[in-house]
Amino acid sequence: MSEIANNEAAKKTCLHDRHVALGAKMSPFAGFDMPIQYGSIAAEHNAVRGAVGMFDVSHMGEIFVEGPDACEFVNYVFTNDIRNLEPGKVLYGMMLYPDGGTVDDLLVYREFAENAYLLVVNAANIEKDYEWLCARVKDNPRTGKPFGCTVRNESEAWGQIAVQGPESEKKLVEVLGLGGAASLEFYSFYDGQWNGKRLIVSRTGYTGEDGFEIYSAPENICEIWDRLHEAGVTPCGLGCRDTLRFEAGLPLYGDELSEKISPIMAGLGIFCKLDKDFIGRDALVRQKEQGTEYKLVGIEIEDKAIPRAGYPVELADGTEVGVVTTGYHSISLDRSICFALVRREYAALDTRLDIRIRRKTFPGKVVKKRFYKTNYKK
């Protein structure tokens, strides 16, 4: 009964009917009824690595910050430094709680209009992030007054498609006529129009391959999906979105980042600029100086068994020293690998760590987290 109730409550993206018509296996994710796979996860994964695939990511959130203090405000809630971010550029980073725990990880787009930023946030965190931003904008600690900017959640007005893979540029140019895509650098975007509505094209993604994310009104997103589908672009579900991002060493909020997992623990310190002030900075400085109790590592085991989230990480004598956060038998690499949070004294590369999978223990060792060599456009 509860499952039925959940399904009825689940939100639908603008492309939902198309997923159902394609026979996708649907499942609730972040409050949305989303496609997990249309056919085989491995085939969809390989389409992105070898050619081109497309994902409905309309569930992601779009929050706009605008006004004279927009730069100061975003820089105050965001770990990365946006002060030198040019119009048309994108930056990855996190929003943190004062204790260093992670509110969310997100992309910040510096718009071409003056004093305007677009924050693209995780679907599961849209409400939480919006409330967090609305609360923080009321109090500029430097002036004791509210920041001079507005925070607007436009998530429901936007659809989004990620087109990913080595042939994605060709498809955008030839099938969609988006010629501007060809000259975009990695982590850049341009603003355009489609049927009189705003269209944002950015060279970003979550797969480790070259690719684009296209934002527009739902009716445009449906038309773009249909044209790409007719042109042979493989529809890809959230199943392979996870296997792809995992191989590329990218974190998923909820697994590798959370209210309890700071970017320092997750090995994402490079996205946290400690020479500027932002919420959570002092906690990160302390964590860097003193070390965190746990660190996120990669572990590889010498077997085809699959380390799944929640499985214990052990020393050879059976002492539990950590837990798996995401794991797969990697489709592109044919290795059984995982991310795991382990006590920091066991986080060094090549440290022997075992993983308990049901009744058996499989010997493994700490390896680099970026399992797959990414193919971003330079």
Binding site: A42, A305, I306, H329
Partner: protein
Amino acid sequence: MSKIVEGLKYSESHEWVKVEGGIAVIGVSDYAQKEMGDITYVDVPEPGDTVEKGVEFGALESVKASSDLFSPVSGTVTEVNEALCDAPELINEDAFANWIIKVEMSDPSELDALMDAAAYSELVGE
């Protein structure tokens, strides 16, 4: 539409049993392999291990998830299908031809509680 073979016994957890004298040959149904998708790993006990009716004895792993295997009968494992260690996808190719374990039954009357093909067909709604 998944395949269901006449003359086998079926469990509610989608294992099938083929009775050969006192031995139960155990696999998973075509319906189960379809639900799982591409199977990438088969976790099985060793010959000599005991299994118990309704208790987990191993697992199938697909890319996304692992799914426990439950023994439809109690007894002692006499043989495991080694071919599945190297080629777990055989279950996707033919779930009925590729058995998983053979069990010497300690209580063959347990078979009576299992479903026949017609009842199983109803369970999976086909």
